[in-house]
Subunit: 205 residues, 2 copies
DNA sequence: AAAACTCTCTACCAAATGGTAGAGAGAAGG
DNA sequence: CCTTCTCTCTACCATTTGGTAGAGAGTTTT
C-alpha cells in the first residue's frame, strides 16, 4: 500500500489539529513545522502567511462539515428521527475528530474576524436545516417555534454536550467512552421532550 | 464623588476584558498596559507573571459568577420558574458583561490547564444546582432525568444561546437588543417544553 | 544538455513577548 | 531629618514570532 501524503495536505491536517486544539494565537509555525519534521519555510512555501494557512484550514474544515451534514440529511428521515441522526453524527465527530469541533469553537469566538469565512461555506447548509425544521413543523412532526432560534438552541445544546469536556468534568461526568453513550442518549431524551409536538398543534395541512 | 480605582483593580478589570475577549495567548502585557496608560512593569509589580494574572482574573470572575448565581438561587423559587430566573440572569450577564462569559469560554477550552481552577471555585455551586434539580424532580416539578446530564444540557443551551454571537449571525439572527429578548423568550419556551414533567411522572412523595 | 520548475533547505531579520534589575519619587513613620 | 515602604518608571535582555531572500537538489520540459 502507498501511504504517501503530499506535504501540503500534511500541513493542512496538522494545522487543523493545532488550531482546533490550541487556538490560532497559541499555535506557532515553528512548532507546527517541528511536529511535521519540516522547516517553517516549507509551510510558508505552500501558504504565504499564517493567516492564509488558517483560512485554508477553515475552508477544508467547512467542506468536511458540510459534506458530513449533507450526507446525513440525504437519507429521507423526518422529524425527530432526522434530528437524532444528526446528533449521532456530531457525537461521532466529537469522538473521532474533536479538533474539528474545536476549530469551530475557535472560529466562532465572539468578535472573530474569520467567522464570516466559515459561515459563507456553511450558509446553504444552515438554510437547508432551517427549511427542514419549518417543513417538519408544518407537517406537525415537530413542535412549532421560530426555526432560526430553534436551530440556535439545537446547535448550542448538541455541540456543547458533545464537546464541552471541561464543563463535563466540572459537573462530575467522566470522559469515558461509556459515559459518552449515556450522554448522547440523555441528550436525545432531552431533545425529544423539547421537540415533540403537542397534541394541540396537529398538522396544519 | 470619588472615582478612584486602585491600580491593581484596574489591571484586573482590563485583564478580564482582554482575556475574555481575545483569549490568553492573544493578549499581551504590553497591550494591556498601554490600554491602562501604564507600563508593563506596573502590571508585573502586582502580578508576578502573566499566568499569575490570569489565575487572579479567573478567581475574580469565579467569585462574581458564584455570587450572582447564589443570589439568584436564594429567592425560594421552584421548578421551571427558578430555571427561568437563572436564564434571565445569564442573559443580562451576556448583555452587560459579555467578557465574563467569554472568559468562561476561554477557560473551559478542551484540554485547558486552568479549567480546574475555575471548577474548584464553582464546584459547590454546581453541586447546589444539581441538588436543586434532584429535589424538583422528586417533587414532580421537573421531568425526571439524570441531574448531571440535565445540568450539562442546560448549561450548553443557555450559555450558547446567550453568547454565541457569531453562530447567531450565521443563522441570520441579528445582534440587536430586540432580538435578544426574542431569543430569550424562545429559549424559555424550548426549556419549558424540555423540562415540564409529563402527567405520568407525578410527584413521588 | 540546457533550461525551467518544484520543493525544501540555510541564513537572516525586525518586531514583539514575558520577564529581570534597579532607579526615583512620594508618602508614612521613627 | 532620616529611614522605610509603596508604587511606577527606565533600561535591558533572551527568546520567540512571522516573514524575506535566496541557495541547492532533484525532476520535468525543451
Amino acid at each position: 500500500m502507498n501511504n504517501f501524503v503530499p506535504t501540503r495536505q500534511r500541513v493542512l491536517d496538522a494545522a487543523l489539529s493545532a488550531f482546533g486544539t490550541d487556538g490560532y494565537s497559541a499555535t506557532s509555525l515553528d512548532a507546527l513545522a517541528a511536529q511535521l519534521g519540516v522547516r517553517k519555510q516549507t509551510i510558508l512555501y505552500y501558504f504565504p502567511s499564517k493567516q492564509a494557512l488558517f483560512d485554508s484550514v477553515i475552508d477544508a474544515a467547512a467542506q468536511d462539515l458540510v459534506e458530513l451534514f449533507e450526507q446525513e440529511a440525504s437519507r429521507g428521515l423526518t422529524g425527530i428521527d432526522q434530528v437524532e441522526a444528526i446528533v449521532r453524527r456530531i457525537f461521532r465527530l466529537a469522538v473521532n475528530r474533536p479538533e474539528l469541533l474545536g476549530l469551530v469553537r475557535e472560529v466562532t469566538r465572539p468578535g472573530s474576524i474569520t467567522a464570516g469565512r466559515l459561515s459563507a461555506h456553511v450558509g446553504p447548509t444552515v438554510d437547508r436545516a432551517r427549511r427542514f425544521l419549518e417543513r417538519e413543523m408544518n407537517a406537525g412532526r415537530l413542535r412549532r417555534s421560530d426555526p432560526s432560534m430553534l436551530l440556535l438552541s439545537l446547535y448550542s445544546t448538541v455541540v456543547g454536550v458533545a464537546s464541552e469536556l471541561e464543563v463535563q468534568r466540572a459537573m462530575g461526568i467522566p470522559p469515558s467512552r461509556r459515559a459518552t453513550v449515556v450522554r448522547r442518549s440523555e441528550l436525545t431524551r432531552f431533545l425529544r421532550a423539547a421537540l415533540a409536538p403537542t397534541d394541540a398543534s396537529a398538522a396544519v395541512q
